[in-house]
């Protein structure tokens, strides 16, 4: 693969939060550096797969829409993840398949129809210099993204792509699945954690049988769930490392599922951890949406994750 890059897009409107994301930043969490990476790993991976990219290629994470890009050259792209009513030169533009754009064409994302985060991949990948091994854009840490400083997209930005950006994927590279219905009630698989026995029996029953509402306090760090108040015998722990998907329960009894940009250590008791695919699913839930927590065995979760990775490189 050639190393040289070209300008693929000009940003006409940036939207409230459009970020460059890859699979995340690893090996530096002991320094307090968070993981970052695509919040919906499934949608991100499919966008890349549809244009023939290998696992890990940088793609745009478009949160709730508002993005308008002008193609600066011929490009092969795919949009997966949320349906943010994307249009190409004003005409509805199908997601979950590869498309060819000509120079001057306008790709726009308006507002959420289904889900919250759309992923735009370009053949060969967007191009940026990795910081600490990754281009994952973490605004709070001022790391990653196109400028390396954690900047979200801004009007007037010119986005670099690799020289393969116009290459049509090899025939049969990928056939897309039926786009998920993110608005449907979500079943989130949770691996029980060590403190689960510290919750009252009634709280445990409620945790896995009640409907939980996604709160408005939801971002890339974590998603609050509101519902019955869970009670735990421990109020707080000595701070310790927290993994992706950890579902912590602060003293107010309302769980918070911690996602890609979470702090690296924390001290609230946890029900357990959502699986990576459950985190991806939760990242597409709009505030007010209903979710349920379902306990799963590690063997089952591992098999699901390995199947997903085998299918998506």
């Amino acid at each position: 693969m050639s190393n040289y890059t070209v300008i693929g897009f000009r940003v006409n409107r940036a939207g409230p939060l459009t970020l460059l994301q890859d699979a995340g930043r690893y090996g530096v969490r002991h320094l307090g550096v968070t993981q970052g990476g695509a919040a919906d790993l499934h949608g991100w991976a499919w966008a890349n797969r549809l244009v023939g990219n290998a696992w890990g290629a940088p793609a745009l994470e478009v949160t709730v829409g508002g993005l308008e890009l002008i193609a600066e050259r011929e490009l092969v792209v795919a949009v997966a993840g949320a349906d943010l009513s994307a249009t190409l030169d004003g005409e509805p533009c199908a997601g979950w398949r590869a498309l060819s754009l000509k120079a001057g064409q306008r790709l726009a994302f308006a507002a959420p129809v289904n889900g919250l985060r759309a992923y735009l991949a370009v053949a060969g990948g967007f191009a940026a210099t990795p910081v600490l091994g990754s281009v994952a854009c973490v605004v709070r840490e001022q790391l990653g993204g196109f400028d390396g400083r954690g900047s979200k997209l801004a009007e007037g930005d010119r986005l670099a792509v690799t020289a393969e950006a116009g290459r049509w994927p090899a025939a049969g590279a990928a056939s897309a699945p039926q786009p998920p219905d993110y608005a449907a009630p979500a079943e989130l698989a949770l691996l029980p954690g060590a403190q689960i026995g510290e919750f009252s029996g009634h709280s445990l029953y409620q945790a896995f049988n009640a409907d939980w509402q996604v709160d408005t306090r939801a971002d890339r760090m974590g998603v609050r769930l509101t519902g019955p108040r869970l009670s735990c015998r421990i109020g707080s722990l000595i701070s310790e490392g927290i993994g992706l998907g950890a579902v912590q329960v602060p003293p107010d009894g309302q769980p918070i599922a911690l996602l890609n940009d979470r702090q690296t250590i924390g001290g609230y008791p946890r029900l357990g951890a959502l699986t990576p695919l459950a985190c991806a699913r939760l990242a597409q839930c709009q505030p007010g949406q209903t979710v349920r927590l379902t306990a799963v065995a590690a063997e089952r979760a591992l098999a699901d994750y390995r199947r997903f990775r085998a299918a998506l490189g």
């Binding site: 790391l143 026995g197 250590i265 357990g272």
Partner: protein
């Protein structure tokens, strides 16, 4: 009668599909580092390329591995073997001594007066007390390069602010709840600000990235304004909080 199994330490606790929490101790103690530090080295050797991250904290070590290469069961067996053979390493666990030149002044440490009132000490005594102890780095977190250090003299164990400041300047030296830290970058923050250091605590272009590592010993060295400015310190004032 022996203790119930769940209370025995060290123990391994599930932490998602790709992690195990190694719980080594019940309490925060500097001596914990003599066990956690060698365990980090042993994990690096035993897991090799399958290791994703190791997150040490006060009493624990979170081990994150690649679930495509290792099953949680295999990872658990490896960790059990490491724990069975683990011995403390007092020599290397003492860490590097890092000095943080610090300008203690109400201009950049707007909580000095209030901390002094809380402690029943003069401001000068607060400074002497804070700078008079070598601290250990127990964990990094909150932000890149943010080191949680302890343990503070009990008189300085001031609770964090009821309402965090939306913007704490980089380099701010602060205390809260028996611990001390220096803010590597501008972030919101609820700790009590005593002064400021010009030291670059996190630098993406530096080998090792973070000035401070878990296990390091840290000494705050009082400097005057002129020295602080010569070291490149930013003297912009912070507003006090009631």
């Amino acid at each position: 009668m022996s203790a119930p199994l769940a209370a025995r330490l060290p123990r391994l606790e599930p932490a998602g599909l790709d992690g195990w929490m190694v719980r080594l101790f019940e309490r925060i103690d500097e001596d914990n580092l003599a066990w956690i530090t060698p365990l980090i080295r042993h994990c690096e050797a035993a897991f090799g390329d399958a290791l994703v991250d190791l997150v040490p904290s006060y009493t624990t070590l979170l081990v994150v591995f690649d679930p495509l290469r290792l099953s949680p069961e295999t990872a658990r067996h490896r960790l059990q073997a490491l724990l069975a053979a683990l011995t403390p390493d007092v020599q290397t666990a003492t860490g590097e001594l890092r000095e943080l030149p610090t300008w203690y002044d109400a201009r950049v440490g707007p909580d000095l007066e209030r901390v002094a009132r809380h402690a029943g000490m003069s401001v000068d005594d607060v400074i002497a007390c804070h700078a008079g102890t070598d601290y250990r780095v127990f964990a990094l977190g909150f932000a890149p390069g943010f080191a949680f250090m302890g343990l503070l003299d009990e008189r300085l164990a001031v609770p964090r602010l009821a309402t965090p400041r939306p913007r704490v300047p980089a380099g701010s030296v602060a205390i809260a709840g028996g611990q001390t830290a220096a803010y590597p970058m501008v972030t919101p923050g609820g700790w009590n600000l005593l002064g400021r250091t010009a030291a670059r605590l996190f630098d993406r272009d530096r080998e090792g990235l973070s000035l401070l590592r878990v296990g390091d010993r840290v000494r705050f060295v009082p400097v005057d304004r002129a020295t602080f400015e010569r070291q490149g310190g930013d003297t912009t004032a912070v507003e006090a909080r009631a």
